[in-house]
Symmetry: C2
Subunit: 97 residues, 2 copies
């Protein structure tokens, strides 16, 4: 119990921001795992978009629901990327971009 709490504290004090591409629908399991480990994920979605727009739609929808379900956040970042955050990180939305 004591060790678990220490582990949780260590994770919180060193959040990771990971940027990588989404190449296949199966890659979203890795994204979910990263979110569970409190990492922030910046996902370049163009590789999957070029392969299949339908699969991209499904992937984004599933990640949207997953992020919402865990109390995290998700937002588009230009044309090529989305950013997904764990519950402790909020995406601040500017009025003017």
């Amino acid at each position: 119990m004591g060790q678990e709490m220490l582990g949780a504290k260590q994770k919180e004090s060193s959040t990771y921001l990971k940027a990588y591409p989404l190449r296949a629908l199966g890659d979203i399991d890795k994204v979910k795992e990263d979110l569970r480990n409190s990492s922030i994920v910046i996902l370049r979605i163009t590789p999957l978009a070029q392969k299949s727009v339908d699969e991209l739609k499904r992937a984004v929808e599933e990640l949207y629901q997953y992020a919402e379900g865990m109390g995290g956040d998700i937002a588009r970042l230009g044309e090529e990327r989305i950013v997904i955050t764990p519950p402790n990180v909020k995406i601040w939305r500017a009025l003017a971009q």
Copy 2:
């Protein structure tokens, strides 16, 4: 003292991720302020790049030194953006992007 500690804890438990454009060299003061407040900043650098490549160079160099100096991290995100993190957030670098 007790209030200060509570304030620090509250900030830590709700990190913000802010995405906004860099339009002028003067905008970096805002970036530095956000970093001091433990926010993660994703900066779209194209507006300043279109205005002056020299000013962009100076801005990125200054932000690089600032992030390094405070124990944070900075990385390029494609052609249009850079991401800068406060000390508690580490940028994870993939071997293959």
